[in-house]
Point group: C2
Chain length 216, copies 2
DNA sequence: TATGTTAAATTAACGACGTTAACTTAAATT
DNA sequence: AATTTAAGTTAACGTCGTTAATTTAACATA
């Protein structure tokens, strides 16, 4: 039943319907396993109808990634309320890992799949804005820890520190997502691995706890 | 020109020819971008001929992964000669990262793509044998450091420690492979990130350098 | 009120993919 | 010389992402 003109709001609504259906399928089966025809069937349209709203499959993926970047950032934003900045870094890591492990297919799309370099023309996420960008949040907290001089004195580049913390947590999560079922590694529990990574990063990057206590 | 019977050696040779062609294409373009027809053309056979030697595309990927696991392990094996075990851990990390970053498409296949759980029936790699398995090498070294009581006293599970070190290095490498070209992160140099991760793992996991010096 | 115009959808179709089936060729065996 | 059979080939299937051509029905105009 293909009738005619749609208000802008209706077009927007259909766009969202498509994205919701695609997201649900992507999450359940992974990006590659989901076909355009399958997405279309789920929302009761023909496959080609999708192309009236998205240039191609990649555009859908990108749009979903954008939404998920926002979801990740907003999920972490309450953590940013924690007063102590060291506690806040740790909580950010835990929150980030929770997101990664409970939405592995999203996480794979966002951080484990090479995408054409994020085009600011298209992306609606304001990168650098801590409200919308989880990495910006981490950067912010790390800078705060840095200014309180809680990092080891030889560490003079907060951005580098933030990228290292990110890499550590990401390493634990991405190995879990990719290789959790491989039997040739006798994996310790994911909780234990995450915990040790957190402790290692703290111990490895910060000055000793005694010194920390006596700091402003 | 398809004549007839081949000796076992000839069959084996063709198998290797297929694998070499596939590997070269995979490395250049990534697994998904390479087609069976393309592999076949490169070796002067029809696409279907490949199926006489491999069940399907996945079997080729798996066979290549196996070879690459061996290549990784053997590339690291001389590092195992380093006498000081702490130096050896660091060198293993550096060697591992060098492999990952200079063969990113291999690395992606091996450690960033979910595969049906490694079937010991098929795989020719002897997992657990440090000659053939890089993780077993790491495990070995970490155990040695553990026995010298150089890890912080609260760390009582060498396997967990090894998995954390792996995750740290893997995190740096996999983020680099996936997101190096994303502009919204102001990446520090990969060398700096790797260096800081190494130092952080060392500082975070080991007892202090002064104590270390006075240990057996 | 009849007639175009046009947005929103559809069906048809294309070329490429992984893979299977059916067929060919020529060496080895009888 | 006739038969079997391994090692190839070409043809073909079903599916994919995507584009082209076509239909449908609401609106605008005469």
């Amino acid at each position: 039943m293909p009738p005619k003109p749609k208000t802008d709001a209706e077009r927007q609504q259909l766009r969202i319907t498509i994205l919701d259906a695609a997201r649900e399928l992507f999450v359940a089966q992974g990006v590659d396993a989901v076909t355009m025809r399958e997405i279309a069937k789920r929302i009761g349209y023909s496959a080609t109808a999708i192309y009236l709203h998205f240039k191609d499959k990649d555009a859908i993926i990108r749009a979903i990634c954008d939404t998920d970047f926002l979801a990740l950032a907003s999920g972490l934003s309450q953590i940013m309320q924690i007063p102590d900045p060291v506690e806040r870094v740790v909580a950010l890591g835990t929150g980030y890992a929770r997101f990664a492990l409970s939405h592995p297919n999203h996480y794979r799309m966002m951080f484990m799949t090479p995408r054409p370099p994020c085009d600011p023309e298209i992306s609606e996420v304001q990168h650098g804005n801590p409200e919308q960008d989880a990495y910006a949040q981490l950067r912010l907290v790390v800078h705060e820890v840095y200014e309180r001089q809680l990092f080891r004195p030889e560490l003079t580049d907060p951005d580098l520190i933030a990228q290292t913390i990110w890499a550590g947590i990401h390493g634990v999560c991405s190995l879990e997502i990719t290789l959790a079922n491989d039997i040739w590694v006798n994996w310790r529990s994911i909780e234990a691995r995450l915990q040790l990574m957190q402790n290692t990063l703290i111990n490895g990057l910060l000055i000793s706890p005694e010194l920390r206590a006596s700091q402003p």
